[in-house]
């Protein structure tokens, strides 16, 4: 039991640290590498929640596909860091940090006091987390949504090609 606490603490501290590096790194490629690390830490947290399928999907889809796309664009554009920009938006940046801080504090407060808000508070009862169980639910109760996701991904591919193409037809 103390081992699970140890792993939870380790993974969550590393996840928070890598998220902070992601949003604060000067160069976008450092942000991207920190974000890959963040995704791996989240996959570990999913494993502590007995969600093996989602953990594998996290590594394949996020750390694999999406981050390759991001790193490809960063290298294609050959960007410098933001320090070269004229720094005339200090007030707005401070306002953003304050707003997000207030929002985050209220979110943390409500999440930690959830026990008083829910009628029946869930206890840890993992049942169906195998790929078979997920596939069963996905292809019976959520079949229409699954097909809609297919249409969405096709539309996204067509839209990305249309946007990135220099001259259409």
């Amino acid at each position: 039991m103390s081992l699970t606490y140890f792993f939870f603490a380790l993974l969550s501290i590393l996840a928070i640290a890598s998220a902070i590096v992601t949003i604060s790194a000067k160069h976008p490629i450092r942000s991207a590498m920190a974000l890959v690390f963040h995704f791996f830490m989240l996959a570990g947290l999913y494993l502590t929640l007995q969600a093996q399928f989602v953990a594998v999907m996290q590594i394949i889809v996020y750390a694999g596909a999406i981050m390759v796309l991001v790193v490809f664009v960063v290298m294609l554009l050959n960007l410098g860091d933001e320090a070269t920009l004229a720094n005339k938006y200090q007030v707005r940046q401070l306002a953003g940090i304050v707003l997000a801080g207030v929002f985050g504090l209220s979110l943390v407060y409500s999440m930690l006091n959830l026990r008083n808000m829910l009628n029946e508070f869930p206890t840890h009862t993992v049942e169906f987390t195998t790929v078979q169980a997920i596939g069963n639910t996905l292809y019976t109760n959520y079949f229409v949504q699954f097909e809609a996701i297919g249409i969405l991904l096709t539309a996204a591919i067509v839209g990305a090609v249309m946007l990135a193409k220099r001259k259409i037809m």
Binding site: T22, V54, Y62, V70
Partner: protein, 103 residues
């Protein structure tokens, strides 16, 4: 093997991660970093879904995470294509320099 970690720990962690992502979206000016901060926020929501799915003993939360991942992939593809088109037309990816629609 089963975790005895209280559900609030996971929810608090996910709230902190969501707030970090929100700070990134509000303060950074590089469009690619803003997209990455949005990914951090989406992952925080995914963590909430998974922890509730695990604590309620229900598969539906994991299926919603599946859908969120698909939408995030579509969003990343279209968003990065927009960044590419922006760079081609204005030679910048800093959102402050894109102010054509500002009065």
């Amino acid at each position: 093997m089963f975790t005895n970690i209280p559900l609030e720990y996971y929810l608090g962690l996910s709230a902190v991660l969501f707030a970090i992502g929100a700070v990134g979206v509000l303060t950074r000016r590089n469009a690619i970093v803003i997209l990455m901060s949005i990914e951090v926020m989406l992952n925080a929501v995914n963590l909430t879904f998974i922890s509730f799915a695990s604590y309620f003993g229900d598969t539906v939360g994991q299926i919603f995470v599946f859908f969120v991942m698909a939408v995030a992939a579509a969003e990343a593809a279209v968003g990065l294509a927009i960044v590419l088109a922006l760079y081609r037309n204005k030679q910048t990816v800093f959102v402050d320099e894109v102010n054509l629609l500002k009065w």
